[in-house]
Amino acid sequence: MTSTLLLVQVLNGLQFGVLLFLVSAGLTLVFGVMDFINLAHGVQYMLGAYLAASIGTALGSFWAGLVLALPASLAIGLALEWLVFRHLYDRDHLSQVLATFGVILTLDEATRALWGSAPLNVPQPAGLSGGIMLTSSLGYPAWRLAIIAAGLLVAPLLWWLVERTRSGMLVRAGSTHRAIVSALGVDIGRLFALVFAIGAMLAGFAGALAGPVYAVAPGMGDTVLILAFVVIVIGGVGSIRGAIIASLLVGLVDTLGRALLPDLLRLALAPAAARQTGAALASMLVYVAMAGFLCLRPAGLFPVRRA
């Protein structure tokens, strides 16, 4: 493997990491702040991709699709929170897991009913559909670079919002000091709904960004969801900083593992066996990391301090 190919894989890993971050951010806040475990968060990612693709196709502009997918995702998030999730805040984690699992089944099926089971055709982002020459001989898709740039923009902004502003402080305090925050005249229910909706919008944004890169198909949110759980376990539940670092880590490990492990194993094994074990090991790598963290450092890399 040459160093230019390695560079490509690193960039792919970063780009994947950015998408994971956008999905994990909402998940980690909802989990950390409201102690609510939402399996249906991956569905928001899928819906974001579908909405952007359909709106984009209908209006003949990828960019219109991307922009309009954001409020649409926000609205869906609010609707789900109002319909289902808010009735589950006081229930045990198992009930939350099962009910949000029901949401996944429903919305995955709804997607199939509306758009069919085949992957969707996604319009390419006008102006960014080509490649950019990184070196004289190496081109890289401009859109993937744009995804990385979007992540570089959103991540610090979100971190600032949650960790440095008054609203962020209220959100963080809302989990442990419900009574105090209510006494400040803040409607906790509204606050939670807002966090939820913003998380849903970020996931939808990730889906919209992912459309031109990956297959837009029913169930595309499930894999991302589980990887997002890996991210928040490694990063520390409720920590935006943790989510940033851990999602880049998971993105890189997953991508590089898939690219490099089969080749590495070929040094020791027969080619066919190396390909098989390499692929299996690569898919497992992040889950091994997650299990390791849960066992040895359950609070994650950046444990959120609770007063």
């Binding site: 099962l98 889950y287 359950p298």
Partner: protein, 336 residues
């Protein structure tokens, strides 16, 4: 661990409450409470002679009984031990893949196939349990999910067994040298017998000394430790037992469909199994059986009514969680 501070005390109590038991009543039903599961087993025994003897109905019932078996094992874990595993489908998958790998090398004797399937799944459950049990609460849900995914990707990479596409068995497992399991009716009664055995075994385990410690550790681990018990080995044995039962169910499932694929191990399967347990009622072992039968029948019925049947199934699931906290087994107890 400082369990005496108010905050911490709340959390400890929370950890046991938050996982799984859903405020369920004790899992030691008096005799009359065993009437319902016996009735269900009797109905299953009579079903083939009451107009449900055609291939289609028997296939459906077999599926229900097999999943019921796995769900009873999981109910032992969720209700009995307070451990909600989101990776239980892996044990089913391992049982199924054990049948497939033995089939691929020409071994089809039940005397070998079933013990291997059970042992493999139990071993997996024991090893992953040994690690997972170091965590608790929602972390336990997550780590079992992670292990389930590892099993899934392993299965998907087994190219000799078809990888993603799965593997079709050459033949069903032979019993006493005969192709007994080929016969639908015989298979029905084999499943029923094993189902009854699994239920009796798990009931006995819950009623035993072991089961009492297990349930006590679910409710109040600190109290149980202060009496001199270490919850860990009890929970580990429960995981292993549930895993072995999952392996048995998986082996039967492979025989029922004559096909195995990674889909058996998908995390959504684990979610469905967990749902069966909750739907049936987590406070009762047979809740798993009720839940599995209800699940399979509902799935079948809805998929006849409409193409996109999950559009109705998903909301039903949500409604069941929201409005049936005691599950189906809890329904009867409304008045009392």
């Amino acid at each position: 661990m400082p369990p005496e501070s108010p905050l911490r005390r709340w959390k400890l109590a929370g950890a046991t409450r938050r996982v799984g038991t859903c405020g369920a009543p004790r899992m030691r039903p008096p005799l009359r409470e065993k009437a319902l599961p016996v009735l269900v087993l009797a109905v299953l025994a009579a079903a083939p002679f009451l107009g449900f003897g055609d291939g289609f109905a028997l296939t459906l019932l077999a599926r229900g009984m097999i999943l019921g078996m796995a769900a009873i094992g999981l109910a032992l874990l969720v209700g009995g031990a307070g451990l909600a595993s989101l990776g239980h489908a892996a044990t089913l998958g391992i049982g199924a893949y054990a049948v497939a790998s033995l089939d691929a090398v020409g071994i089809d004797r039940a005397g070998i196939v079933f013990p291997v399937a059970i042992a493999a799944a139990a071993l997996f459950a024991a090893v992953t349990g040994a690690v997972s049990l170091r965590t608790s609460g929602v972390h336990f849900i997550m780590i079992t999910l992670a292990f389930g995914q590892m099993a899934f990707f392993t299965a998907a990479s087994l190219s000799t067994l078809g990888g993603d596409d799965g593997y079709t068995l050459y033949a069903r497992t032979t019993l006493f040298g005969a192709r007994l399991l080929q016969d639908r009716l015989a298979f029905h009664f084999v499943c029923l017998g094993l189902l009854a055995a699994v239920w009796l075994l798990c009931s006995a385990v819950l009623d035993s000394r072991f089961g009492r410690v297990l349930q006590a550790a679910r409710d109040n681990p600190l109290r149980v430790r202060a009496l001199g018990f270490s919850p860990y080995p009890y929970r580990l044995v429960a995981c292993t037992l549930a895993g072995g039962i999952g392996g048995l169910a998986g082996a039967l499932l492979a025989n029922a469909t004559e096909f195995v694929s990674p889909a058996t191990l998908a995390w959504t399967r684990s979610g469905e199994l967990l749902f069966m347990v909750i739907l049936g009622g987590v406070g009762r072992l047979y809740g798993g059986l009720l839940g599995a039968l209800a699940f399979v029948l509902l799935e079948e019925w809805l998929s006849h009514l409409m193409t996109y049947w999950r559009l109705a199934f998903g909301p039903l699931l949500i409604l069941a969680v929201l409005f049936l906290p005691g599950g189906l087994a809890g329904l009867r107890r409304r008045d009392g």
